[in-house]
Subunit: 124 residues, 2 copies
């Protein structure tokens, strides 16, 4: 037996496009947009998931995703399963073209649920 | 005259320690913690600043800061001026030592106010 129920741990994953050139800071700022959007949306629409995540260290992992098509495929899966998610579209005032989709946040959701969707993606 | 009042634009800056070795993804996740904390704190305690920032594209810039001492010096200035801020302390389960302070989020606040504090720092 274990006092630690892995299934009770929630996390947010952020899928960052690898085919769009961004500085480390730009990429981090895009991840921030996704994380803030997921936090605010879940606080409103899925407060229990938000509370579990917020109360246990707000686990966040940033993962690599190939390109825009994959980004929307993962978004479709999250939508189908009713999991909070938010795609980030950059205004394009600095490093990328206007309207570039840069990353996707998924969660907060149970790690076991998220890992079934994004478990094959590598950490950034 | 200008229709665009620069002083009405709000932003969040995130100061990332450069003396702590972190992967691109780890660094981005730390920035996310700061951004989420600043967003939630301002939504509660400074809703007008939050609304300005949230309603105008949630501008976020990630900046370089030398080390822990500088991080706390900037925090002290933000505290003195009553500006929302949040320092991130990592649990240390992956890349850094437990209890490492990795970054500091400041804002949302007027860009002109924040630039007076962090205007000399370089973008990450």
């Amino acid at each position: 037996m274990s006092f630690f129920d892995r299934d009770s741990e929630y996390k947010v994953v952020i899928l960052m496009r690898q085919d769009v050139k961004m500085s480390k800071g730009k990429s981090a700022a895009q991840a921030c947009h996704a994380a803030v959007a997921c936090a605010l949306a879940s606080k409103k629409k899925n407060p229990s998931a938000f509370a579990e995540w917020d109360g246990c260290g707000q686990k966040i992992a940033v993962l690599k995703v190939e390109g825009e098509r994959a980004l929307f495929e993962f978004k479709a899966i999250a939508d189908q399963q009713g999991i909070t998610n938010s795609i980030v579209c950059d205004a394009g005032r600095t490093e990328v073209d206007p309207g570039t989709y840069t990353c996707l946040g998924i969660g907060p959701e149970k790690q076991s649920v998220i890992d079934k969707i994004t478990g094959d993606l590598k950490m950034l």
